[in-house]
Symmetry: C2
Subunit: 363 residues, 2 copies
């Protein structure tokens, strides 16, 4: 049975069960149709990924620039101009039967609003991380999707990357023994003070929200546990460029999981901080280096306990496609996404706890 056959089989198997979103347009041999909301860099990646997918395609666009960006991408991806929406027109998407789901690639502060509006329009939601700018918003999003009986998936790309899935397998197999500690970090040096991620109103918080979330979420993904205790500090060395007028430059934290596993983490928007994550057990250790980017995450063993040397694809949209396909499969088969809204909520709870521990609460 190939993938397409499996999809058909699953659809037949589920015939008669309640599949409201599936019923809204997608048939078993047609790709799931996504409306991309926000046409920035990350949506560009997602749209390219869908073009390479057998299971997903872009069928509508939501943009503040329908005549320029909208028409450009509509032409690229064969989308009828009637399926280009402005933000004001967005709610009309409920009548577009070619749209099974939306992909929310907006600034963090808009995730909640457009997830809730998409749910009300009866559309499934694949939302970029961080899920929202607060745990309160996350809960609103979960509730809205539950009420509308649509699926909500958070775009934790790494969880769909075979390299990270191999790390998950190794950790869960017990090959490293009892895990004792985890260390990770991720950061960039943003040159421009005008970038939206440096505006508190749009981003909700600093580097922890958008890049610190990678080691945090990946640690949770690998350990299958959620940290409950935190210590943290923030720091801003660059006091002159204006980049950090609204938020801190760097965050460092420690965390403890209910089992007693401890961890350290760091993130920055004001320095190079190549992504990494190390998982240390009492039998062995593994490391993900060059981690969390679109390509080339590298998983190796740091001890004799296990042998592993895996590198992620060099195709920069490969993992976006796996992510788009997972959501498509969940819609087709009426199953819960691996990285559902509840996962996004857990990270926001941790992020709020870290900022609070640092003495700089988010709200």
């Amino acid at each position: 049975m190939n993938r397409r056959d499996f999809s058909r089989f699953s659809a037949l198997a589920l015939a008669g069960s309640t599949l409201p979103s599936f019923a809204q347009g997608a048939s078993s041999d047609k790709p799931i149709g996504y409306a991309a909301i926000g046409l920035g860099t990350i949506s560009g990646m997602f749209m390219r990924a869908c073009q390479e997918s057998q299971k997903a395609k872009i069928t509508a666009l939501v943009t503040g620039h329908p005549d320029t960006k909208g028409k450009k991408f509509a032409a690229m991806y064969g989308i009828p101009e009637t399926s280009i929406y402005t933000y004001e027109q967005f709610d009309r998407i409920k009548d577009n039967k070619a749209v099974d789901a939306v992909y929310v690639g907006l600034p963090n502060s808009m995730h909640c609003e457009y997830t809730v509006r998409a749910a009300k329009a009866g559309k499934n939601v694949l939302c970029e991380k961080p899920m929202a700018t607060s745990s309160v918003e996350c809960r609103q999003m979960i509730d809205a999707c539950k009420s509308a009986n649509v699926k909500l998936m958070i775009a934790y790309r790494c969880q769909y990357d075979p390299t990270y899935i191999e790390a998950e397998r190794l950790v869960q197999s017990g090959a490293l023994g009892n895990i004792q500690a985890v260390e990770g970090a991720f950061g960039f040096n943003f040159a421009s003070p005008d970038f939206w991620r440096l505006k508190k109103k749009l981003a909700g918080g600093g580097s922890l929200m958008d890049v610190g979330i990678y080691p945090l979420n990946t640690a949770r993904f690998l350990l299958k546990e959620d940290p409950t205790e935190f210590t943290a500090m923030v720091s801003t060395r660059d006091k002159t460029s204006g980049r950090f007028a609204e938020m801190e430059q760097t965050v460092t934290w420690t965390m403890k999981f209910p089992s007693g596993i401890t961890g350290t983490g760091a993130s920055t928007y004001g320095g190079t901080m190549p992504g990494f994550l190390r998982i240390n057990g009492d039998k062995g250790s593994i490391e993900l280096s060059n981690a969390f980017g679109y390509t080339g995450s590298h998983l190796v063993s740091l001890s004799k306990a296990v042998t592993v040397d895996v590198t992620s694809s060099t195709d920069d949209v490969s993992v976006f496609r796996l992510e788009a396909d997972h959501m498509a499969e969940c819609i087709r088969t009426n199953t819960q996404p691996k990285s559902a809204g509840e996962e996004g909520l857990k990270d926001l709870i941790a992020i709020e706890s870290i900022y609070k521990a640092a003495g700089t609460p988010m709200a």
Copy 2:
């Protein structure tokens, strides 16, 4: 001018200046004589290193087992049996003109006593890290050596390793830009609950004392700054083996330096935690991996800002020899060791602060 010529030249240049320890036996063309105090694993490394040195040699032994260990090592290194001392006889070493300095390779809790006694005997002191079990002891050691006009060096081996010196050069050159953050860790999984490092009375504290001190000290060495703010937590997952009856299994911490640089650190005695240290600037990052061991520390660049790929010697006593030679040169030329007692004190102050921040103060 070769090294020996340089030594002779330095000695001539200094003729007439006050060199009490130099006057106690070493002449310019003779190696500096060390008495090894405590004949465990690390003293074994140090003695082998001296055998490979032109500048240092072992000329006396201090041991609780003079007839077994003492005679064995005396035979190996050509030491007269009259230069084997028990701990009770130790103070008589003041009359041994072949001894210019002592190497303190004892459990942490004995460092202070034997440093003070060696100073009173007019001998220079090279003391293993951690310098002592408290900052109070460190200050006693510094004072005793000052009063006796002898040198005090802490055996921060890595500071004499060309790989770490290259990292220091890169950081200090500004090639990485302004440093923003540092991450590091080091730990082992000790199988036996009987090891002295797991006994609070002998070790003074847990893994932070003996292995966490590596990323801590190396961060200070590379940054030329001392952290002043800390958050921390400790954790013990293994509650059954008895190994952690007296101290924690794992420590994690964050630290902030006066410049605003922040850092994370971790150490354990209950898991594999391969040594590493990363230094992240706003232009670039470097990483020391496989770090802090006797061999094979690996320094690489993690960004395009610099190009470096250096690996430490595969000779397991090579860095011990560089360390022994540095102290020998300091004695000959009456200069202050790079890693003087004040450096050891700074780490104990930081360690005390970390345990205090974790809610588990040392005293």
